[in-house]
Symmetry: C2
Subunit: 66 residues, 2 copies
Amino acid sequence: MCEAHAYILRNDMEEKLLENVDQIDVEGDEIRMINIFGEQRILKARIKSYNNSDSKILLEAIEWKD
Amino acid sequence: MCEAHAYILRNDMEEKLLENVDQIDVEGDEIRMINIFGEQRILKARIKSYNNSDSKILLEAIEWKD
């Protein structure tokens, strides 16, 4: 299990967004993620950090629709 | 071996920048990367894509000092 999990930071809280991320594409301020199960997330965010040892990708929301 | 390798895209060419990346931190337009051997790269770039299956992180240079 090498896949990292994506979290989104908003209001100083980290929320899990997608597990077992396989692919991320950044196009301007839009991030498109797909995991190994084919689940997809598209959102306006920036990649803030990536840590392989922690299997963690941290995003920072630019805009969020609740 | 789960670590991804970082490549930088410039002049439409992909160049390997750092192998076995452990940590990436993005601060504005600056990216700081460190690998499992403690080697570090700091550069002005954007993360363009990440692919776990290919163990590949692709960066796009904002500015490059040869």
